[in-house]
């Protein structure tokens, strides 16, 4: 029988301080990168603007395209090769001219230079300022709503501590994903948001499996002298094979999507892949570890309160 771990007994919880440090370091690097870039780069879904995906029938220099686009004066445009030296994406900022004009003018500008040959406009996306603003607000609501939904579900199924710890793990995962997005120069777009929301669901998934196990073990009766930290550690070890195996299959699927899924799905697949890794890690080291520290802290406080009461009684 092929087995990843034979009855593992790793001391995950004992090393949680190191994990906190690691997480903080990752998040800090991500946040610094976001800060240096002047905030997250928003795609046209949120910032508004026009995106054109254009294919030429021969290889074309970016400078040549830029020269052509500069003539129509539609503002600072971003030109990017897109998976193929003949295929490009132009991002144009919101302009005064109506949407239908933008495409037409680009088409005309490209038609003027014979070096481009035949030009095929394969995709046009225009998002006006109102729609972009609406989507920003809706995106924020969607992320908050899914967190609240999960907080409620975990709090009802388990307890409030578990719910809050799950949310902390989710926030951790989202921050890491956003950092990775910024470090690789990717944009926040609708598909990326969809990936983030999926990761929120995936991350809490693992956490629930571990919590479920803690409760099941307790139902069987806890061995005497087993601290809460040890109970969590045992549950994490018991579910470790499953956690890693599932992470592995999901990771394989998203990596393949990243490599073969095409340029349009690349960002979505990237966030999913990063999210699967951080989601698995955060189950153990954020959701599991935080609930331990919280319990230790709560117990210590209860003891102090008892002592204070005892002292007051004897005085």
């Amino acid at each position: 029988m092929l087995q990843l771990f034979k009855e593992p007994h790793f001391d995950f919880i004992g090393k949680r301080r190191w994990a906190y440090l690691l997480s903080l370091a990752f998040i800090a690097v991500g946040l610094v990168s976001i800060a240096f870039a002047g905030g997250l780069r928003y795609g046209i879904d949120f910032s508004g603007g026009t995106l054109l995906q254009v294919r030429f029938d021969q290889t074309v220099a970016v400078d040549r395209i830029r020269a052509a686009l500069d003539q129509i004066k539609l503002g600072e445009s971003v030109i990017q090769e897109f998976g193929d030296p003949r295929e490009f994406i132009f991002r144009l900022p919101l302009a005064e001219v109506p949407a239908e004009e933008v495409t037409r003018r680009v088409q005309e500008a490209l038609a003027k230079d014979p070096a481009f040959g035949k030009v095929e406009i394969r995709r046009v996306e225009f998002v006006g300022p109102q729609v972009g603003r609406d989507l920003q607000v809706q995106a924020l609501y969607a992320v908050l709503a899914s967190m609240v939904g999960i907080l409620i579900y975990v709090a009802v199924r388990f307890d409030l501590k578990g719910g809050v710890a799950s949310i902390a793990a989710i926030v951790h995962d989202v921050l890491v994903c956003l950092g990775a997005l910024s470090l690789t120069g990717r944009e926040m777009s609708l598909p990326v948001l969809a990936a983030l929301l999926t990761i929120i669901g995936y991350s809490v998934n693992d956490t629930i499996v571990a919590y479920d196990r803690v409760r099941e073990n307790r139902g069987k009766g806890v061995k005497k002298g087993l601290s809460f930290a040890e109970q969590i550690n045992i549950a994490i070890n018991q579910t470790l094979s499953r956690t890693v195996l599932t992470a592995l299959t999901t990771f394989m699927a998203t990596t393949i999507l990243f490599v073969f899924g095409g340029k349009v799905l690349e960002d979505l697949a990237f966030v999913l892949t990063v999210g699967v890794v951080t989601g698995t890690y955060s189950t153990i080291y954020i959701a599991g570890a935080l609930i331990v520290d919280w319990t230790i802290w709560a117990e210590a406080r209860a003891r102090r309160a008892k002592k204070a009461v005892a002292k007051a009684g004897s005085a």
Binding site: M1, L2, Q3, E7, P98, A99, E100, E120, I121, R122, R123, V124, E125, F126, V127, G128, Q130, V131, Q138, Y141, A142, A145, S146, G149, I150, Y153, L190, P191, L193, A194, L197, T198, I200, G201, Y202, V204, N205, I208, V209, D212, S241, R242, L245, T246, T249, T250, F251, M252, A253, T254, I256, L257, F260, G261, G262, V264, L265, L268, A269, L272
Partner: protein, 539 residues
Amino acid sequence: MRRYLWLRIGIILVAILGSLTYLYPPPGIREYLYGPAPGLARKGGLLPPTLNLGLDLQGGIHLVLGVDADKVLESQVERAAADIRGSLEKKGIGVAQAARQGTMEMVVQLASSQSWNDALTVLNEFPAFDRKSADQSAGRILLALREREAATQRDLAVRQALETIRNRVDQFGVAEPTIQQQGENRILVQLPGIQDPERAKALIGKTALLEFKMLDERTSVEDALAGRLPETSEVLYQRRVDKDTKVERKIPYVVQKRTLLTGAELNRAEVQADPNSPGNWQVAIEFNAVGTRIFGEITEQNVGKLLAIILDGNVNSAPRINERIPGGRAVITGQFTIEDARDLVIVLRAGALPAPVKILEERSVGPSLGADSIRQGMLAIIASALVVFVFMLVYYRFSGLIADVALGLNLVILLATMAGFHATLTLPGIAGIALTIGMAVDTNILIFERIREEFRTGKTVRGAIDAGFARAFRTVVDTHVTVLVSAAILYNFGTGPVKGFAVSLAIGIAASLFTAVFFTRLIFDLLYTGRRRIQALSI
């Protein structure tokens, strides 16, 4: 759980047969399941033909239009201002000014405050307006359109616009378009398989207000451009694009503001070859009874004068009226190509939009990109399925094979459910399927790991299977609920393509509950129970 074996086998068979019927319906059943939809006959054999593909996969255009309903209110207030001026003057009350202010307000300035009470009585005849302020000593009244009236007008404008756009799209000829209201004043238009998105946009977005107005021949163009023109006239332009140099020329005309006749009174519009300039086309129009009578009167009263034909505020042509035209027929000329002329005919037949529309959002995908996306997406799905298949087989051996069959069944049910509900498969939806492949085996992993664990505690094969399934089940439900919660939120939030991602993720996850638990359990029960005593389990 080992009971009802035959019933459970029956359910699985029904699910498989049902799914296959929905994916590849035999000829007679197809119409019954999907109706006589011609759009279903699609080439590109990688995906089942009954799947409804999103615009990002089959190519097409997605538009969100904003109806500028304020323009309707403005023109209503302007018309009311003219009516109010008329009513007051009929009663012998002098009016210095009656004009729109902002969108919904109107200032009425009386020549004197003498007949103040009479004026107020006249104003009461216009119940659509509220009196916001009245200054008797200044003889000045501020009126505002009532909010309820404004809301009704806005609503009407959006609904009319929707109807007009639907008519235009119908005449343009698009298979299975989607045209629906979105929110208060937005219209969603989706046209699958459009080859020329620019033309479609121009056709949909054109206001197409055809107006007939007399030229103001008493005011010279020079005076008018210098701002010396009567209040009742305005300068409009004729746009002519030089065919060789592509340079646009704007020729100014001084036109009387009063509209004599509009395209609303049209009966017919047709493309004709222009007899005076070969290679160009013209549009012949015919008025209805009312339009014919009005057109007859106009031409009778204005013989020898110039009549401006104005389309969306641009002078199309300004022919001289030679004689009274009784038949209600006219011709619109203007260097049209055959496509221009055809599109003009479509918009004239479908009628003008009640208010200008603006494109708020556009997503259009060419057919070649859509085909590329399908190819790459399918490649990713097949590759990830293969890798996961092999992984499960290597790791869990025979049980892995069962999980693989369950996964295959999951994909079939997922696609069939999408086809059956007419859900749309989008490119992110394909990503959702690839992700489902990775996540759907999770349930089997949970169960198998549990069975192995139970084994280690010394249970028999049968005992371990029973305990494994029973113990894992609660966790499985929990994990499914959380993914469904995020998918539901994603669905609620998302626009088209992202919605597709949520749909395929949710259906895939829900189907995995059936395939990974119900189906796998049945196979285990069939293989490892019964009279024979099984000593070893390949897991």
